[in-house]
């Protein structure tokens, strides 16, 4: 309970966001939209970490630090993924996952 807001509310919000991200990951075909779904998944995990930290272990900072590290990993992942996407676009002129069947260059 954090000033009237129970922990389960945060967890349920994070769960819904996580599974919406997985739905997008499974359904979408464009590579950039798949990347956006991945960002949704990472963000939902961050909400869980921070809520657990604040509500169950106030006075500690573990959850916050791991949220910071996850944000850094997400930034690195996004930059490399976009470099790959632009490289693929330059070679194949579309970024549809179903039309891509060779990774060799």
């Amino acid at each position: 309970m954090f000033e009237g807001v129970p922990l389960t509310w945060f967890l349920i919000t994070g769960t819904i966001m996580f599974f919406v991200g997985i739905y997008g990951f499974l359904v979408r075909k464009n590579l950039i939209t798949i990347l956006m779904s991945t960002e949704l998944i990472l963000n939902s995990v961050n909400i869980n970490f921070v809520a657990f930290n604040k509500i169950l272990y106030p006075g500690h900072l573990e959850g916050m630090f791991f949220a910071i590290f996850i944000i850094a990993v997400a930034a690195a992942e996004a930059s490399v993924a976009i470099a790959i996407i632009i490289n693929i676009y330059r070679r194949l002129v579309n970024i549809d996952v179903e039309k891509m069947n060779e990774m060799k260059y």
Binding site: I22, R28, M36, L40, N46, S79
Partner: protein, 170 residues
Amino acid sequence: MTPNQLMFAIFSAVIIIFSILTVTSRRILRAATFLLFVLVATGGMYFLLRFNFLAAIQLTLYAGGIVVLIIFSILLTSHIGTKLEAPSLMKILPAFLVTAVGAILTIATILQYKFPQEVVANSDRTDIHVIAKSLISTEKFGYALPFEVISILLLAAMVGAIILAKKRKD
């Protein structure tokens, strides 16, 4: 309903509605804008939990950096007016089924589990001095090693992205 509960309800509604719109919108630039709303609402949730530094990082790095990167790559790889083709029903149905079952199972488990109610509230140690000292400390509750690992990862990602996106002469 206390003010905190009201703010939580607003942020949570924004997160859920706009994340669903992000994965279903057929115009890709709109999907990126909806993703921006989701990220800003997440930052608001960090502010609600009094993690001011984390919320600032969320707003500058996620909402400011990653979304701009995504929008740039959208503008480089597709025309603004194009609509994505709708996914077929054969693809929507299994994905929806899997995610719905997973979400229901997880939410049922969360609601069933008895989290400890009485937590000894210490002083809030989230000011910037404590964060800076723990990030470079090697003692208990110090994060020097993950900090170094993440900096090497960021360096490797930067070099890799430059090499990948560079024009090849062939």
